[in-house]
Amino acid sequence: MVKILLSSSIVFPATVGAVSFFARNTGLRKAMIILSSFLIAVISILIAFYLKIPGLYYFYGSQYLPDLIIKLGDFFLIFYILWISYKISEPKIAVFTLLQLIMLVYFDFFVLKESEVPFFFADELSILMNLIISIVGSIIAIYSLGYMERHERLHHVSPTRQPRFFAIVLMFIGAMNGLIFSNSLMGLYFFWEFTSLCSFLLISHDGTKEAAQNGARALWMNMLGGVAFIAGIIFLYTHYGILSLDELLKFSGGNYITIFVALLGFAAFTKAAQPPFESWLLGAMVAPTPVSSLLHSSTMVKAGIYLLLRLAPIMKGSILSNIIAIYGAYTFLSTAVLALSQSNAKRILAYSTVSNLGLMIASIGINTSSSIAAAMMLLLFHAVSKGLLFLCVGTIEQEINSRDIEDMKGLILKMPVTSLITSIGILTLMIAPFGMLLSKWLAMEAASRHFAVAMMMAAGSAVSVIFYSRWIGNLISTTKMGVLGRIRKCKEKLPNSILFALESLAFMAVAMSLFVGKIFNALIKPEINLMHMELSIRAASGYLSNGGIGGFSVYPVFIMIFLAGLLSLMTIKNSPALHTTSYMCGLQHNTMDYEAKNYYLGSLFNEDRFKRYIDFISAALILLLMGGSII
């Protein structure tokens, strides 16, 4: 049963994807996708309930088959990518792929000895990731139904390219599940590469020149990461003979293990689009928005974090870990500052994704039980909220034909539902008591021994408040008087699939924060125990206690916000608040002439130049990291 579940979590989405590629009948395809999304989610929940974890499981059926498939798949993938690089004539891809090919051939045919390892490894982390991928992923897939239809209508795409799109998306979900469940490092590697490929295909889905270019950039950067990945595996295997996660987790450390960590860390950084590789994620914003939501914020980029989390116990206490912490904190701050100068909503989200990934990396680097817990919580909450926000931006963009937050002024009157959901999404990212801030709090407390890291974290989170809150400000700012009345009158028409996706994600984002204690006890605590760390955090009914250092209780804040909302609704209702115009120096008659814009500090730093500095420093940090690993 368990085996079936695990296997089907990979195979089922992939198969449905493959089938949907050939399903030319729109209605049928739709029904299939809805059904299968539902099933995927169900499977993940079943897994979460029925799996005995931590545990090792074999693939359903044969145990050699998956190994074989993966081996073949590896080569297939590499040749396919080579072909792509030839087709779009991008030599960088070819170079990195060829490097991988050489190493792969060397490894597969000359080094690797036959051995028998269970295919699946599942623990709480995998379950957590699986839940995110399957639930958020299927919600996004459903959203895409509505979105892609409008998208193609707006862009006059015909014949429809939706089958291709959904095929890739569903296969991607399968691949992600494979990535997080696979025990063998080779399997991990295969799925890793596969997601890179999916990302490329989806980025260039629209087929414009820009899309192709940005896709290529994403691919070569990820291929570079792949090179490091395979190199790391070879290194590990040749030195310690380890090729699977379970062994790795049991491994008690060796002299050169840090080199392996550094190599895999590098791969993780490319995947998580940490500077100097953040440009691929920014470029990836040309993809249809569900792609950005699914791959580039909630799941694929999280693969990097997943990998680092797996490496965390190995590097515990090393200098490397400290450098990673600094690097992550630095990324957190610097990309938050970059996001500050943006007014394009997707770019803001992209930069802040990179930034939050940096925060997770920093937490992992700090490597204490609370910081690991913080990282895992961030992983979860960020996936939901960010995914939601991307979907919101997509919806808004299709309506107002712009992604610029300056153009979203007063959107609340035009698209009340979307705007409110967007605001809630932003709030869940920005303020306590929502999970993101709770995890930031945990991370801050964990970071307090590393003063520099703490400083950058504090600054970074303050900076992110700027770009988030001005976004909300723009959404709800109006010149019209009597907002609530108008909202009530305004009927916003959204396709059901889109509405469902937005509402369910928003609900999740809020509800999860409410039950943060439960989530912590169920998923995060055991995982930290598994990592053999002394657990100092306790959670009970909305209270998170950080081992005598401090504590955070969520309920009072919720009650407070609830009360504020209730009272304000009551006051608005009872005393139909008198509405006036805004203060305009006595020039009320031509209010529309005047409007302040948000500060983007364009004059202070120009994005390109600033980015160069940031990239430079982060490259230096990565070099330091590599160097640190050798010492």
Binding site: S343, G586, A596, K597
Partner: protein, 360 residues
Amino acid sequence: MSKTGIIPFGPQHPVLPEPIHLKLVVEDERVMEVYPAIGFVHRGLEMLAAKKDINQMIYVVERICGICSMMHGMTYCQALEELMGLDIPPRAKFLRVIWAELHRIHSHLLWLGLFADSFGFENLFMQSWKIRERIMDMLERTAGNRVIISVNIIGGVRRDMDDSTLRWILQEISGVEKDLSGLKDMVLNNYTVKKRTVGKGVLSKDEALRLGAVGPVARGSGIARDLRATGYAAYGELDFEPVVEKEGDCFSRSVVRIREIYQSIDLIRQAVSKMPSGEISVKVKGNPPVGEVISVVEQSRGEVFYYIKTSGTQYLERLRVRTPTFANIPALLKMLPGCELADVPVLILTIDPCISCTER
């Protein structure tokens, strides 16, 4: 998408003592362009010259502005005296100097307060207005009113000061001088004030000339031009040097004004000590002859220009007033683009604008 916002500034605005309107095109904190709109104080009193006779017009021109009212009256009277060929008694000239210099001190202190307010230095505002009240007392005691003192008439002045009053003035003015030292310290030696004013709104000498800047604005840019040197009223018999500063930024304009306060104190002392005795006015008979006359006087804000055309009756044919602020506004418009939003009030106040003068 442009990230430039448009911010209104005025007419009803707490830092603007008077209504003008500026449309500021800003990007972040930087002002890119400025579109002014004026006319909120325009009353059209030049036209009253046709309705009120020359004596009544004194009280009208004094109400062009409550800050520099005495000097408006003086300029007007000087113009008509010139036209009618009147030679006013020397005592009247000296009295005019004293009142004019008192006005200059009060006007500069008033400016200093508002200027301080423009960069959020409330205490400085309070201190300078506190000192200013002593000047107001002097005006009230000598002329009977705090603000619009109405002492000029064609042919001299209306009120005399007796010796005890003059002594009292000397004593009070010394008190003012003492109080000023703390104030001066607060402007000239305060790091934060310097930071807000030094290097802001720089106006080079050339620009100042071309834009026709007058008064402290011109003198702050190194133009040694002070009409009092032409010796109208009793200034010819008093000793003074125009105050000049070179840098041409807000700070040097402030320094000019503060030094001018001291200069005025000195001038008052001189005038009191040299005060001749005798009549304070001459009798004026008949209507002024037909003619055109120009009269200029160094107001607290710079040169005020009166053009008067008479028609041979007791009414003027045309009265035209060009006030110093009118001449300084082009300089302001040159300074504003490129400054920070927070500096807008500072720059506006640095020319010491007086809109009621400007728009009449």
